[in-house]
């Protein structure tokens, strides 16, 4: 069964503080997409944290990043 895949842009409506969460991307792709999303949103000082990385049944890795 394939993993759900999405990118969440989560922001504080009062301060604009933004987090980015990526789900369902293979490791290498996740890093690359996270970099691009961070650059486009302008959150250049974002910290990227991998909160999960698991082998899926289809051989793809699931990762999650928060910026």
């Amino acid at each position: 069964m394939s993993m759900p895949q999405y990118i969440d842009i989560i922001f504080d409506p009062e301060t604009g503080e933004t987090e980015i969460k990526l789900e369902g991307f293979p490791d290498a792709v996740c890093d690359e997409v996270a970099k691009k999303v961070i650059a486009q949103l302008g959150v250049t000082n974002a910290k990227v944290t991998k909160t999960a990385s698991a082998e899926g049944g289809d051989g793809q890795k699931r990762t999650q990043s928060i910026g």
């Binding site: 759900p4 842009i9 409506p13 604009g16 792709v29 691009k36 250049t44």
Partner: protein, 144 residues
């Protein structure tokens, strides 16, 4: 004493057009002008100015790092940070949505993805807003 307030933003020069559109949505009925004087203390020339007929202007000036600083007015009471937050609060949602849509058009890995409606969520007891990008019905986009 009344004074001008400067605040950092994450709005970038690269997304200037999106910021202008977001400001038009956020400040309905106000004119958004480029390279004019903002009617706030100090009368600074700004790259982008929201001309507010019913109050003080809000200005945006490009910094060397490629982001805009927000210039607004504090009438002499209240916290400066609150003034900046208040000026920017209506802009975050339309700006972030516009950037998300741009991502789906300019990033091959996100080709065909859709941007869902903004939803209210709670993270560790704090109210936040979420914009979700996900693969459209036609497929999941391609890997980079």
């Amino acid at each position: 004493m009344s004074h001008m307030v400067k605040g950092k933003t994450s709005f970038t020069e690269e997304n200037k057009d999106l910021l202008v559109e977001a400001l038009k949505q956020a400040y309905t009925g106000c004119e958004v002008r480029l390279n004019v004087q903002a009617m706030i203390s100090g009368r600074p020339i700004c790259d982008i100015v929201v001309k507010n007929e019913r109050g003080n202007d809000v200005g945006f000036r490009l910094k060397a790092d490629g982001t805009y600083e927000c210039l607004s007015y504090n009438p002499g009471y209240g916290n400066d940070q609150d003034r900046t937050n208040s000026a920017l609060k209506p802009v975050y949602d339309p700006y972030n949505r516009a950037v998300a849509k741009k991502m789906t058009k300019t990033n091959p890995a996100l080709a065909g993805w859709i941007v869902s409606k903004t939803t209210d969520i709670e993270v560790k007891g704090t109210k936040k807003k979420r914009i979700r990008l996900s693969p459209g019905a036609g497929g999941s986009g391609g890997w980079i």
